[in-house]
Symmetry: C2
DNA sequence: GTGAAAGCGCTAACAT
DNA sequence: ATGTTAGCGCTTTCAC
């Protein structure tokens, strides 16, 4: 053997396949993309040669020539909050049969970071963008407006959209939870959440919640915030802390199910009578709640459906048949579970 | 106003910026990439024009011309198993300062799907590939070998690698857990896992576990498998089921922490004496364990470190200073927690 | 320090 | 049914 480096030094091109099977580059291209009429024998020869050589097409060149890119940019705040992987699941599923591929970027709940990620991703000229929330930097909004592609803002509908929106009203979600709590007769209500000034959806839920309480003349009696660490453990600690400070609380509203689950575990261990002495509720409808000792009251954020429908809009297959900007508000259903009592005090 | 459509109909090109500021395309390109010497005044004019127009460079053209792509392909089995988002976190963090960007694909634990995803992603000519596990289709292996870029297989070291590997030995992890269980005096051991023939790491842990037990003359007394649904709830149900079938079991080994957590909740509610009557262990070292009533015994899979180091290898910044293929086996530490008793029966 | 020409690997559009 | 030509928007290379 005279040459140990006889393997592919240079990545193969169409030309290599073309030469290997004696068919023009153009025809090879047609076969590989399954476009135009190619005779069966030619087609077979091309396919055989491409496979034998291990040819992988260069989408960069293809995209530049065709001005088409089968990529959909998805920008979400986080991957460790299970909510977003679930949205992604919906997006992937809906994109499956369309030939479009999601490409994910993460903003870590920071608008500046989101802008940077968007800039980076838009420079690959994707066919569409799906991003969480309605709050973006001015520059990001301009970029998206000028991109000339479908833009779908997801999860939240409380605000002005760039193009299409699909989500729920977190303000309403908070308000409805407050209504249910008041109706059940709870009066000394605590709120526990994460310390994330840029989690606009959590903020809106809190605002709606306060509105709802206010309508019944109730005010939040105590609050507790956390950052970092295991949400389940934090939920426990915060609950212990808030109850130590204010033992008179008869309801705890958590900004997400994970800390709510921690709170539930704490209350049960502390021997508190849930939901009679104290009621609890979270938000999201996370799967994990199903394995808990009691079903925590919650409100489903419709994550999967939001992902699916956003993808359909980008793919131009929205069931609505609309082509222009769509605006869809989903209505999350309150699930009382076992942690809100079923009748008021009266 | 005579023209409502005066906005950018066509995406801006270098030429547009060039014309807007009276500087050649070439110089504009230099400024935007921060390469080569450009006088300060020229640079400012270019930057100003680019910003004013809202120019976003076309990376497709750039990549084609320069033959360089700052993308790193990452293929993982799933996003809903929290393990993988954590690996991703490590990868992103390590790639942060390198100018490289991770692009994620999901295989759903199916080798065929992995092959398809790889083909799709390799056609964008990334600078490197990180993928989970050592088991791939023949075609996938060939593609990776021929790609001429760094390939890092992660999570598992039990098998033959294509290029670099970084992970733990799941076989060893299983064996060490078995040793600890036997040493603690448990003898009637049950195994509970997911029904995923293609989860090779879980399979290897089980094999190593059986080996370890066998060395002490112990055999697995009962098994229980699940698929789909909430892992926490499934863990509960499976535990109840396996104990109903075989009440004599004194230890339950779960293939992951989530079902283990469910099992723990079940045992505590059932009033079983953990860890004396029955011991429990999971696998992964998930954060969620911190909030549970007891600390479940587990073994950390070093997810974050694996991600970080894989990224360093791809970026050519491995602390080892090596340039060729690396092979790194991390050693997970057994954490007994509160669910394995501390001394044997003797 | 700046510009002009060539070409990256593919596909659209037009032959044949 | 197959081939030819031009060019996608950039960067490389070389000239000035």
């Amino acid at each position: 053997m005279t040459d140990d480096f006889s393997g592919p030094r240079r990545r193969l091109t169409l030309r290599d396949v073309s030469e290997a099977c004696g068919v023009s580059e153009m025809t090879v291209s047609r076969v590989l993309r399954d476009r135009g009429d190619v005779s069966a024998p030619t087609r077979d020869r091309v396919l055989e040669a491409a496979k034998r050589l291990g040819y992988v097409p260069n989408k960069i060149a293809g995209a530049l020539a065709s001005q088409r890119v089968n990529l959909v940019t998805v920008v979400i705040p986080s991957l460790s909050n299970m909510v977003f992987p679930e949205v992604l699941g919906g997006i992937s599923a809906a994109l499956e049969e369309t030939g479009l591929q999601p490409v994910v970027g993460v903003s870590h709940y920071a608008a500046e970071r989101e802008e940077a990620v968007l800039y980076e991703m838009l420079s690959w000229r994707p066919s569409g963008v799906i991003l969480a929330g309605l709050e973006h930097t001015e520059a990001a909004r301009r970029m998206l407006e000028n991109a000339g592609i479908p833009v779908v803002e997801i999860m939240d509908v409380d605000g002005a959209a760039i193009d299409s929106v699909i989500g729920i009203s977190h303000r309403r979600a908070g308000r409805e939870m407050a209504d249910a709590i008041v109706a059940a007769g709870y009066r000394r209500v605590g709120f526990l959440g994460s310390m994330m000034p840029d989690d606009h959806r959590a903020r809106k839920r809190l605002e709606g919640f306060e509105e709802g309480l206010a309508a019944a003349g109730v005010e939040i009696a105590a609050t507790e915030f956390y950052s970092g660490g295991s949400a389940l453990a934090k939920g426990r600690q915060m609950t212990q802390a808030i109850l130590a400070r204010d033992p008179g609380l008869d309801f705890l509203y958590y900004s997400n199910d994970m800390i709510g689950a921690g709170g539930l575990l704490h209350c049960l261990e502390a021997g508190l009578d849930v939901p009679n002495t104290i009621g609890l509720a979270g938000f999201n409808g996370l799967e994990i709640l199903e394995g808990l000792p009691r079903r925590l009251a919650t409100m489903d954020a419709c994550r999967r459906e939001i992902g699916e429908r956003a993808a359909q809009i980008v793919a131009g297959r929205s069931p609505s048949g609309l082509v222009g900007a769509e605006r869809v508000e989903l209505s999350p259903v309150l699930q009382l579970g076992d942690t809100i009592r079923r009748h008021g005090r009266d």
